[in-house]
């Protein structure tokens, strides 16, 4: 699905990713764990195409295409979804309008038929219900006045409606209480499919009790220093990152 090869990237002339390589196949869930400043968010922004991040060498191939040559909205239409650590508030634009515009822009770009109002409403209602977010909240401005947990649920609602091929979830677990964590984890698990790859970016092992990854990678100073199975997350929780960096 995605092959990241020897990626070097940074921002404002400062190198943050330092030769990162990672391959994720369809159906797999990978978790990247690492201390603050290791480059976790930078990786997600580089993959989603946020302006300001500069790739100095290396490549990213997504379903056979050069991902780095594509604009952010083209990546989305190709199937990349980034769940943000801090979802943005957009005053004056309703969640429903935003999401319907996004879905239809993606479908249009792929040459698919756009969703009718009724079809979209059905999708959005089902997603909101599954994530425990009152449908009425989707009529309000995007994320405005939402609590931290509601924002994360809303990200998952968007993901459920947009059905990406590659889900990059940047600290989706941060700011969630235990009930919300369970609901959001269920949402991720429901979307597990042979046609979808998922990359969980997280500080803590907690999320990985609910969403069990196939592989856990430890990111330190912009490179993956260790890879293992789910048990690696427990080892990290016990010993910390310092032991890994050595």
């Amino acid at each position: 699905m995605i092959i990241i090869d020897n990626l070097h990237a940074g921002i404002d002339g400062k190198t943050i990713l330092n030769g990162l390589s990672l391959t994720i196949n369809g159906g797999e869930i990978h978790a990247i764990m690492g201390p603050n400043g290791a480059g976790k968010s930078t990786l997600s922004y580089v993959l989603a195409g946020r302006a300001g991040y500069e790739v100095t060498s290396g490549s990213v191939t997504f379903m056979g295409q050069d991902l780095l040559a594509m604009a952010p909205h083209e990546r989305a239409a190709a199937g990349v979804f980034l769940g943000l650590q801090y979802p943005v508030e957009i005053p004056g634009v309703s969640n429903l309008m935003f999401l319907r515009t996004a879905l239809n822009a993606q479908r249009h770009a792929r040459g698919e038929k756009e969703a009718s109002g009724a079809e979209f409403m059905k999708l959005a209602k089902a997603a909101a219900e599954a994530l425990g977010l009152p449908y009425e909240m989707l009529k309000r401005s995007v994320n405005q006045g939402f609590s931290g947990g509601e924002k994360k649920r809303n990200e998952m609602v968007q993901m459920a409606v947009l059905e990406p091929k590659l889900a990059l979830l940047d600290e989706t677990d941060s700011g969630l209480d235990i009930d919300a964590l369970r609901v959001v984890s269920d949402g991720i698990n429901r979307m597990r499919s042979p046609e979808r790859a998922t990359l969980l970016i997280t500080h803590y092992q907690r999320l990985l009790d609910y969403v069990v990854p196939d592989y856990v990678h430890v990111l330190v100073d912009g490179r993956i220093v260790r890879t293992g199975g789910p048990e690696l997350a427990h080892e990290l929780e016990r010993d910390g990152y310092v032991s890994m960096a050595a």
């Binding site: 946020r50 909205h73 239409a77 979804f81 943005v88 957009i90 634009v93 999401l99 996004a102």
Partner: protein, 251 residues
């Protein structure tokens, strides 16, 4: 405002405060300007939408002098987007207990110079006014809002508010805002605020990361920003029509 005198003979110059940001060459082409006058009868409730969509390259100046009799209400909306130079000047006089509501939109691009200039005179007690002006300016365009509130000695318990916000889309674009208060009564409430900013880059990235092409994302953000000025349109159908007009202008 000096320009209110009927059929002013001399073309204003940029030395005059009300015209200091104007495109004087274009003003000359539109001169002379005949002020339009109107009176809203006591207790009446009037609404009006002024659309300035003059042909590209042309100059348009409208000057409206409106008196609101006691207890009258006027809800006025402006969409100022046409021509090379477009100026809408309002001179509003409020008698006792009258209310004036303005929602103004300026959408300026290219080398356009577009202006909304208001003078609201609170001439009787207990009158109120609320002015919300939103503008987006791109290219090397200039968008200007000059808002003067004058409270006469008779204007006790005046409640006047002005809010101006502008988004600059390009480095060469300019927004001018000048609130001006002239108060001769002692029991008044006058509030004003002005901000000039840019489109929220993080919001744009967020929208693009969901699949919205950049132009669509920008238009959506701009429309949301400008729609503040249309909230005071009570009729849903009229407001939706105005929003559709704004959307078309941003496309």
């Amino acid at each position: 405002m000096t320009a209110l005198a009927p059929l002013m003979s001399a073309v204003p110059s940029r030395r005059e405060e009300d015209w200091r940001y104007s495109d004087i060459a274009a003003v000359e082409r539109a001169w002379p300007v005949v002020p339009e006058t109107a009176t809203i009868a006591a207790g009446a409730d009037a609404t009006q939408l002024i659309v300035q969509d003059a042909a590209p390259g042309s100059a348009s100046i409208r000057h409206l002098a409106i008196t609101l009799a006691a207890g009258a209400r006027l809800t006025l909306h402006i969409i100022n987007s046409g021509g090379a130079y477009g100026r809408i000047a309002l001179d509003v006089t409020l008698q006792e207990g009258a209310h004036f509501e303005l929602g103004g939109i300026i959408i300026a691009g290219g080398e356009q110079v577009l202006e909304i200039v208001t003078t609201v005179r609170h001439a009787g007690p207990g009158a109120s006014s609320n002015q919300i002006v939103r503008c987006v300016a791109g290219g090397t365009a200039t968008a200007t809002y000059l808002g003067k509130v004058a409270v006469t000695r008779a204007g006790q318990q005046t409640d006047a508010a002005q809010s101006f916000k502008a988004l600059l889309l390009d480095r060469g674009a300019t927004a001018n805002a000048k609130p001006e208060l002239e108060i001769f009564a002692d029991d008044v409430k006058c509030a004003h605020g002005a901000t000039v900013g840019e489109l929220d880059k993080m919001a744009l990235f967020y929208m693009e990361s969901r699949g919205l092409p950049p132009a669509t994302a920008r238009a959506l953000l701009m429309r949301a920003f400008l729609s503040d000025a249309l909230v005071s349109m009570a009729d849903d159908g009229e407001r939706e029509a105005a929003e559709a007009r704004v959307t078309a202008l941003l496309a």
